[in-house]
Symmetry: C2
Subunit: 243 residues, 2 copies
């Protein structure tokens, strides 16, 4: 019996989604919870393999169980067995061949920047604190240049194993209220560190270090060394996966 779940997690204390030899991961904790509850060793797959310190408010996962089980019992049991920073918000049974990664039509990420002289004790885990002034209108204008189908090599981390760097961006916008600046990006798929590298570049636009219309030039050059630094993981959150 195959299940699909929507999972939220505060990634602060984790070495990312994917199981690895050293460090506690979201995937590892979820697989351990299934094993503890049912005695079955399963592989839990996710729509997006978030990096260390990255959060999710709408990660989609899937796993296959040998036995049939009522959805509400499984959800209750797993939520009782996971730590408080991982919550299974929804659970349903799906077709045996459901693949949360391949079947996703798009993913929505949000990146939060706390833009004020002093940090916020409440947002320190969930936003990047940028103490210098950022021109939000410039950043929003630059963000719009990413919409459409482009080769995103300029924003791809070294070691990213994607076959090619062409992605379609459906939405790319900067909104803000008081000190909080929120960047929302929806794309068919993402490259490794893509959002954080875009943010590093947008913040340079906002700080006046780059021209407002720099992004088309960077996309065309397809050279990672010309774009901005990788922004910290804590500001990034996988909000939604669309099927």
């Amino acid at each position: 019996m195959r299940f699909k779940a929507i999972v939220e997690y505060d990634g602060t204390e984790y070495a990312g989604w994917q199981v690895q030899p050293n460090g506690r991961t979201i995937q590892g904790v979820l697989e351990e919870a299934v094993r503890a509850m049912l005695g079955e060793s399963v592989r839990v797959v996710a729509a997006g393999r978030t990096d260390a310190g990255v959060h999710a408010a709408g990660q989609v996962i899937s796993f296959q169980l040998q036995r049939a089980l009522a959805v509400h019992r499984l959800q209750g049991g797993l939520n009782a067995l996971t730590p408080r920073d991982i919550v299974i918000r929804a659970l349903e049974s799906v077709a045996d061949d459901f693949d949360p990664r391949r079947e996703a039509r798009s993913r929505v990420y949000v990146y939060r920047i706390w833009n004020a002289r002093w940090p916020s004790p409440f947002w320190r885990r969930y936003a990047w604190h940028v103490a210098w002034p950022l021109d939000r209108q410039r950043m929003q204008a630059a963000a719009l240049d990413l919409i459409g189908e482009h080769d995103f090599s300029a924003f791809q981390a070294a070691g990213c194993d994607a076959e090619h760097a062409i992605r379609r961006v459906l939405r790319s916008e900067v909104t803000s209220t008081d000190a909080m600046l929120t960047y929302t990006i929806e794309a068919t798929a993402f490259l490794r560190h893509m959002v954080r590298n875009i943010i590093g570049t947008l913040v340079e636009v906002g700080g006046g270090e780059r021209p407002e219309r720099d992004l088309p030039r960077l996309l065309a050059a397809r050279d990672r060394t010309r774009s901005g630094p990788t922004a910290p993981a804590c500001g990034l959150c996988l909000m939604q996966v669309n099927y």
Copy 2:
């Protein structure tokens, strides 16, 4: 030279505002920061002595220094010396006789309830998770009954050292968006556990365990044993102090 500061803190890791023999407190950390920076032993006083686990987004504090010092240097130094969960958001010099507690005209507290079947990993430190359904309209109707001058003995913790229990409530309202239910109360002053005891009672109204118009009866009876339980500290935040 006397200073007035607006301080924000995540109270999760603290035994409350006030210095005590055992446990780390906000007051203790701030006094230690002044001592570390300037070598002066000061007493830092606050507008509201928040309990263990209670947060502040607009606590007002004051302290007197022997030496004169530029405000921006003092603020920068203290913020560098305090942990990340305590931030001095604003600082100014004030008259030597300024008393943040006595001179406050009113205080605004917010209490957050995460009202959904499952908790939120992002709000677990800042909201009380109530998994059963709450009728928000009933709670809002009940909240309005607190506005005005009343004897709040029904909502006063045992051991509260206030001279009398008469307080004037200027604002008392429940608002909500999706899973988040927010109670805002402004009053001239508060009794110990007053907001948390009001919340414990309002949640019983929202859950249908008490009639909607129960609060006038409770106020009149002035009997703590008839009102609801004390809600958890984590949902409470001192938002603002007005002078």
